[in-house]
Structures are given as C-alpha cells and as structure tokens.
C-alpha cells in the first residue's frame, strides 16, 4: 500500500469523507472490468462494483494497511459477486417456468450476442471458481498466495483450478480462432 493511500484511508477514518473518492478512483475501471468479466453483464457489473465500493467504505476500519488495497477491494468484489450470482440463480430458478433463454425473441438474442465480447465468450466455458482464479492470476496478475487469500481457498486449490481453466481456454480459443493454428503450421 502506498503512502498516499495510507494517508487517504486515515483521512476517511478521521471523518474527512471526501478523501474516499481519490482513494478508490484509481480502481474504478479495474473493478468494473473485473465485475463485468465475472458476471458477463454490464448492468450486473455496475451493481456489483457499487456494492463493493459501499462495503469498502463501510468496513474501511477493518482494512489491514499491510495488505494491498487493490487486493482487499478484489476480495470484497469476489464475495459480492458470489452472493450476487447466488441471488440471481435463485431468482432465475423462480422465474424459469415463465421465461427461458429460448423464449427470448431472435432480436433480443442477437443483441445479447453482440454485447458479449470475444473475451467473455472464451470465459463462458469456465466454472465460476475457475473464472475467478483465471481472472485474478492471468488477467489481473495476482500472485498465488494473494489469489488464494482473495478467494478464501488454498494455493493448491488455486493451482488446480488455474490448470483446468487454462486447458479449457486453450480448447475454446482453438475452436474460435482456428486460423491461429493454421498460420502457425
């Protein structure tokens, strides 16, 4: 954690609430992108990021200055995203009888597909835990131990999921971009 961040955290805790904006501002894009890659939906991503920032503000007193502030934010975000997806699943199960993906109009389907980036299509193949591990390790470049801490699991578990995720991603990219392999040959 940088000295500047330390000072900002102290300022917020002392009651200077305006210091919160410069504290979290450098991470606003990272958090939103991470949430987007986790949820695959911009609206959900915004909701998750918002909840993350709210919690970060509320529980700033519990933050350990020895840790990286970014990783602490990621830890909150992962927890929020997990709860969010559980909640969403429950709601979807509740409404599953009334509306399914097949029942969407072709136009809606097309719009949804257009909104999805190629990266998200590659990530779609991963399970939620594999996606978390992959995003942290390979996209955000977090260390083994730090990823384990963020996800609340062991570093062995991180490695196992990471290995599986990389294999799946390789298969998906091979399938989506076959020309890459042709060029190579």
């Amino acid at each position: 954690m940088s000295e500047k961040e330390k000072d900002l955290v102290e300022m917020v805790l002392e009651g200077n609430l305006d210091a919160f904006e410069p504290l979290v501002s450098p991470y606003r894009r990272i958090l939103l992108s991470f949430a987007y890659r986790m949820s695959g939906n911009l609206e959900d991503a915004k909701e998750i990021s918002q909840e993350t920032l709210m919690r970060a503000f509320k529980y700033l007193k519990r933050y350990d200055p020895k840790r990286s502030f970014k990783n602490w934010l990621f830890q909150i975000l992962v927890n929020v995203a997990r709860r969010f997806s559980q909640k969403k699943e429950r709601i979807q199960n509740f409404y599953s009888l009334s509306q399914t993906a097949e029942q969407l109009s072709p136009q809606q389907n097309y719009i949804q597909k257009q909104l999805k980036t190629q990266l998200l299509e590659c990530l779609d193949i991963l399970s939620s835990r594999e996606r978390e591990v992959f995003l942290l390790r390979d996209i955000e470049n977090c260390g083994d131990e730090e990823s384990a801490k963020i996800l609340g699991c062991s570093s062995i578990s991180v490695r196992v999921h990471l290995s599986a995720a990389r294999k799946k991603i390789k298969e998906r990219i091979k399938e989506k971009f076959p020309y890459l392999w042709e060029e190579k040959r």
Partner: protein, 210 residues
C-alpha cells in the same frame, strides 16, 4: 516423467507456478517429447491470444456523472465505527462456554486430591473436642502454656491416624492433676465403636469397650 503427468502440469508451466525441480523435469521432458511440446506451444499461443483480447476489449468505465452520484451515495451512508459485530456473538458465546468447561474440568482435575483429602478428614466427635480443651499430659507445677502447646501437637497428629485406619484417636488424661492414669480413646467412624485404653502409671493397660 511420462506424457500423462507432463500434460497435467504443462498449464502450470506458463505462469511459473511449479517449483524449481518440477519445472526442470517438465522442461526436459518437453524438450524430448514432441507431443508435449505441441501441447505447450498451443497453450502459449492461446494465452497470448487471450491477452490480446483483453487489451482489445473496450475499457469499461463509469460515466463521470454516474460515478459522482455513486460516491455521494456511498459517503452519505454511515461508516462502521468500532461497534461489536453482533453476528459474531453466537460464535463467541460458544467459544467462551467451551473454554469455561475446559477450565472447570482442569480445575477439578488439578485440585481433586485436595478436595478428596478434605472430605476424608472427618470432624472430630464433639465429646473428644471437649475433652481436648482440657490440658493434656499436664504435670503439676508446669505452666499452662506448655500444656496448650502439647494439645496443639496432639491435635496435629490426629489426622495422620484417622484417614488410614478410619479410626480417630485422642489422648485424654483421666485425672490430669495427679497423673495417676492416662486413657486413649479410639472411635470408629463407620460403626461408632469406641475403644478406650487406660494406662496406669507403669503403662499397664486395660481395655474398655463402649
């Protein structure tokens, strides 16, 4: 290392998640095995492609107005003070309860010998205690203080006899002034049987039973 094991570990070679020895062994295997080499190259290629996809992805960002509203909204909520989180209470209560039980068991275990000893030392029958108030083995002409000292000594010796034999003993002078005779009474705690030994001047004794 065989191909099956190597293929399992190849994905971890990309991020250098393997330890030095394992990495070396895997690398030497890849150098020899063309199929594993192909697997490794494909993975490298896939990861490189993914990284370009990440860079190509349109950077997500908040709309400035939206961001400002969000920050204002966040700041308006109450920041957590050092209040005790209630959700930890049941866990804490359980922990304290558990600790209390363990400490009580330990306490009983450590001090049980003392408790048992105290229980086994029965109180002296009142009659004997009354008798002991009189000076023991008083010799005419001697001062009273010495006799009380002897009495204390006699009392101190009594518990040594009682726990082992379940019989309490007390020495009692019949006629303290003349010291014609000396009696010793044994009382059984269990049966109430009382045995009195009476000694004369020459320590010849006769036994009475009550």
């Amino acid at each position: 290392m065989n191909c099956k094991k190597a293929k399992k570990k190849i994905p971890l070679l990309l991020g250098k998640e393997l330890s030095g020895k394992k990495e070396e062994r895997l690398k030497s295997h890849i150098g020899r095995c063309s199929s594993c080499q192909k697997e490794f190259r494909e993975l490298e290629l896939a990861m490189a492609k993914l990284k370009t996809l990440v860079q190509e992805e349109k950077a997500m960002d908040w709309d400035q107005a939206e961001w400002q509203t969000l920050i204002r909204q966040i700041i308006s909520q109450k920041i957590e003070r050092k209040a005790f989180p209630l959700r930890f209470l049941p866990k804490l209560a359980a922990a304290y309860g558990f600790a209390f039980i363990i400490l009580s068991v330990l306490f009983v275990f450590l001090f049980r010998t003392i408790i048992i000893k105290q229980k086994s030392i029965a109180p002296w029958p009142e009659e004997i205690l009354v008798q002991n108030r009189e000076p023991l083995l008083t010799i005419p002409g001697e001062e009273k203080e010495e006799s009380t000292e002897l009495q204390v000594m006699a009392k101190a010796q009594k518990p040594l006899i009682s726990p082992t034999h379940k019989v309490q003993a007390a020495s009692q002078p019949k006629k303290a002034e003349s010291q014609e005779s000396l009696s010793v009474t044994f009382v059984s705690q269990e049966t109430g049987l009382r045995v009195v030994w009476v000694f004369n001047k020459n320590f010849e004794w006769k036994e009475n039973e009550k």
